[in-house]
Subunit: 415 residues, 2 copies
C-alpha cells in the first residue's frame, strides 16, 4: 500500500506558505499578522476557500479557532487533529505557526490523494491568538478549546488601542457567517503540531526531524512601578519618585540574577512609560517579564529572586508584581512521540529527541489528549523576526512525517 | 500719581486662570493642553476674544505665537513684551505658563484702568510649544521669534502620531483667519516673564517675589540602541542582542554618574521599545536624556561621561547618541533685574534673587533684548503635575510687581 507521505508535494506546500505570507506582509520580507486583525481575517478567508476547494469542511467555534475537516469512515469518533496558528508577532516571520497549519493541510491532502479514507475524521486547525502580543497572554484559542480559561476570563483583555478581545472575537465571527460554529471542549483523539524549531540545534546537527519530548516551564509577569510626575529641571534628586529609574534598577538586577544558569531565558519585551515626555520625571512604568527554563526548580528559584528584587529596588516608588502565567515543564505522550519517531525511521529521515524552549498550543492540548510536536530546522534558530527562514526540503520532510503519523493515529485503536 | 499695581485685581486674575484651565482640563484637576492641539486652539480663541474685549489688538506670526497689543504714545517704538506660554505637558498643571500670560494681561489691564498710556507699546505674548512634549525640542515659538531656529528646521519634526510640526502650525494659523500676522524677528525693547518657581525655595522661605538671576545650563539628548528581535523562549542569552538590556545598563550607569554633585538634574523621561511585545527580545530602544546644572563645568563633565557610558554599555548592540539641545547657563539683564527688585521694594514685598532651574522662553529673548523673570512660589515646588498649585495672594503679588515694571520699562529711555 502507498504511504500518505508519498503524496506530499513539497513545491505545493512552499507555494502555499508564500501565498499565506502575503497577508500582513512587511516590506522587510517578514509578516505582521497579529491576531484578529484585518490581515488575519483575510488569511482566514483564504484558508476557508482553500479548504473547501480540497473537499474539506470548514467550521469555527466561540474562540474563532478555524478547523478544516476531512471526514472519517466513522464520523462520530473524536477526530485526530493537527495544526498550529496563523497569527504572528508584529515583527514576525513567514513560518512560525503558518507552517504547522499548512503542513497539516498538505498531510490531509496527501491522504486524500492516496485514495485513503481514515477511520477517524482528521481536522486541520488554526488556533486563535497563540502569540499574545496584541492580547496578552496568548494561547487564547487553545486555552478556550481545552477549558484552561473561559470566554468570560479572556473577553475583557484589551489591546493597546483599548479594544477588548471579546469585541475582536465577535467582529471576526461576524465575518464568518457562512462558516458553521461547533462547541468548545470537543473531545479530540490526538493532536500533532508541526513547527519550526526556533532554536539552533537541528540545523547545527543537520537533522531534519525533531521529536519533541516536552515544553520547558514558563512564568510571565507584569510589574507596575508607580512614582510621581515632576519637572525635569527643578525637582531635586532626593525629592524624586522616578518610576523609570526604579524600573531600570529592577531590570538590571533581574537580568543579573537570571544569568545563572546560562541557559535561563529572561526577557523584558514590553516596557511602557507614563507620561513618556522628555521633560517630565516618569510617574509610572509597566513592564513584562518572560522567564523560561527546562528545570522547574530553576524557574521557581528565579521567581523568588525576582519578587525580592522588585521589593528591594523600588526605592521611594510603589511596585506591584502580577504573575499572569505559570506553565510548569511537561512531557508529551510517549505514544505520539513513538509514532513520530517510527514514521521518520520508516522514511529514512534522521531524527532526534528535542525539548521545546517555547510555548505552543500543543501545551494546552497535552492536558486534553495524547499530544506531540514535530520540529523542523530553521536558519540560525531565528524566529519572531522578519529574517525567519526554513529550507523547503526540511519543511517537506516534516509534512511527510506528519502525513504518515496522522494516518497511523486516525487508524489506531491504541490511543 | 497712582501706580499701575494699585489697579491689579487678584480675584479677576484668579478667575481667568481657572477659566483658562478648563481648556484641556483633566479629571484629576490638572491640564493636558499640548501645543497646537484642539484644546490649545480653543484656549487661543478664548484669549483673542478676551484681549479684544479689553481693547487690545491681537496678532500672530508664522510660529503661531499669539500677541495682544496695548498701543503706545509712540507706536513705532519697539514694544515692551511680557508673557509666557499656554501649552502644557500631558500631565500638566494650571499655572505653568498660563500664569505668565494672564499676569501680563492683568498688568496691562491695570495700566489702562489707571488711565495711563505708555510711551512704548506693551504686548502680552503666548509663545508656541514651550513644553516640547508633543514636538521635541520645545521653545519653538521663542526660537523662531528670535531667530535661534528657522521654520525650515522645525517644520519636519513629527509628533508620536506622525504629524509634522509644520502641518500643525498651518492648521492653527488657518483657524486664525481674522488675526493679522506680523513678521518674526521683530525688535523688542525688553521682555519680562512671570512664572511659578517650580522649585521649593520661595515657599520654604515665605518670600512672594523671586528676582530671577539667570537660567541653569541644559543639554538634551536622544539615544538609539539597535539590537535584534528574537524569540523570548528560544534565543540563548549569549546569542541575544537585546536593545532594552543595553539601554537599562546605560541608564543605570548614567543615573549613578549624575548623582554627584547631588544637585544635578538627570531625567530619562521618554523611552520607547520596538516592537514592545512581551515574547520578543527588543530590537530597538530610543530614550531621552535631560541634563541640567547651574555650573557649566558640571554639565560638560557629565556630558563626556554620558558619551563614554553609551559606548561602554552597548554590549553587542549598536548605539547612537544625538545631542538635540545645548543651552549654557546665562545671567539676565541687570537693568530688568533691578527694575523688578525696585518695584517689589516700593510695594513692600519681600523678594530675593533666585536661579531658574528650568528653561523658559525668556532664555531665547535674553539674546534678543534686555530680559528678566519674576518667580512666585508654588506648593512643594511641584510642577509638570496635575497637583501643581500656587496661592492667589502670591500670584497677585507677582502681577502687581509686573504692572509697575512694565510701566517703568515702557516709559524708560535707559533700555
Amino acid at each position: 500500500m502507498a504511504r500518505p507521505s508519498d503524496h506530499v508535494d513539497g513545491a505545493r506546500l512552499w507555494r502555499r506558505l508564500m501565498d499565506l505570507s502575503r497577508f500582513g506582509a512587511r516590506p522587510d520580507g517578514g509578516v505582521d499578522r497579529q491576531t484578529l486583525t484585518e490581515a488575519e481575517i483575510a488569511a482566514r478567508a483564504h484558508l476557508v476557500a482553500l479548504g473547501r476547494s480540497l473537499g474539506l469542511a470548514p467550521f469555527t467555534d466561540a474562540a474563532a479557532n478555524l478547523f478544516l475537516r476531512l471526514p472519517g469512515r466513522q464520523p462520530d469518533r473524536p477526530p485526530v487533529m493537527a495544526g498550529s496558528h496563523i497569527d504572528s508577532q508584529p515583527t514576525g516571520g513567514r513560518f512560525d505557526g503558518a507552517y504547522g497549519v499548512l503542513a497539516a493541510l498538505e498531510a490531509v491532502e496527501a491522504i486524500r490523494t492516496a485514495g485513503l479514507v481514515p477511520s477517524r475524521p482528521i481536522e486541520v486547525v488554526a488556533f486563535t491568538n497563540e502569540e499574545g502580543c496584541r492580547f496578552a497572554p496568548g494561547m487564547t484559542g487553545s486555552d478556550l478549546f481545552t477549558g484552561v480559561r473561559t470566554l468570560a476570563e479572556v473577553a475583557g483583555i484589551r489591546d493597546a488601542a483599548g479594544i477588548a478581545q471579546g469585541e475582536a472575537l465577535s467582529a471576526v465571527l461576524a465575518c464568518d457567517r457562512d462558516v458553521p460554529q461547533r462547541p468548545l471542549l470537543r473531545p479530540v483523539a490526538a493532536f500533532v503540531e508541526p513547527h519550526i524549531e526556533q532554536g539552533p540545534f537541528l540545523e547545527r546537527d543537520r537533522i531534519p526531524i525533531g521529536v519533541v519530548t516536552g515544553i520547558q516551564g514558563t512564568r510571565r509577569y507584569r510589574v507596575r512601578v508607580t512614582g510621581e510626575a515632576a519637572h525635569a529641571g527643578t525637582a531635586e534628586r532626593h525629592e524624586r519618585r522616578d518610576a523609570l529609574m526604579a524600573a531600570v534598577r529592577m531590570i538590571a538586577a533581574i537580568d543579573r540574577t537570571a544569568s545563572d544558569p546560562a541557559d535561563t531565558k529572561l526577557t523584558v519585551g514590553m516596557l511602557q512609560v507614563t507620561p513618556n515626555a522628555p521633560s517630565v520625571v516618569p510617574a509610572a512604568v509597566e513592564f513584562s517579564i518572560d522567564l523560561r527554563h527546562p528545570d522547574n526548580a530553576v524557574v521557581d528559584r528565579i521567581d523568588a529572586e525576582i519578587r525580592a528584587i522588585v521589593e528591594a529596588e523600588r526605592g521611594p516608588c510603589a511596585a506591584a508584581l502580577r504573575q499572569i502565567q505559570h506553565n510548569p515543564s511537561l512531557a508529551f505522550s510517549p505514544a505520539v512521540r513513538g509514532a513520530i519517531a517510527a514514521a521518520a525511521g520508516r522514511l529514512g529521515l534522521p531524527h532526534r529527541d528535542i525539548l521545546s524552549a517555547a510555548g505552543h498550543d500543543a501545551r494546552q492540548l497535552h492536558y486534553a489528549c495524547p499530544t506531540g510536536m514535530i520540529f523542523v530546522p530553521c536558519r540560525d534558530g531565528v524566529s519572531h523576526n522578519p529574517a525567519e527562514w526554513a529550507e523547503p526540503g526540511d519543511l517537506t520532510a516534516g509534512a511527510r512525517v506528519l502525513a504518515d503519523v496522522l494516518w497511523h493515529l486516525a487508524e489506531s485503536d491504541a490511543i
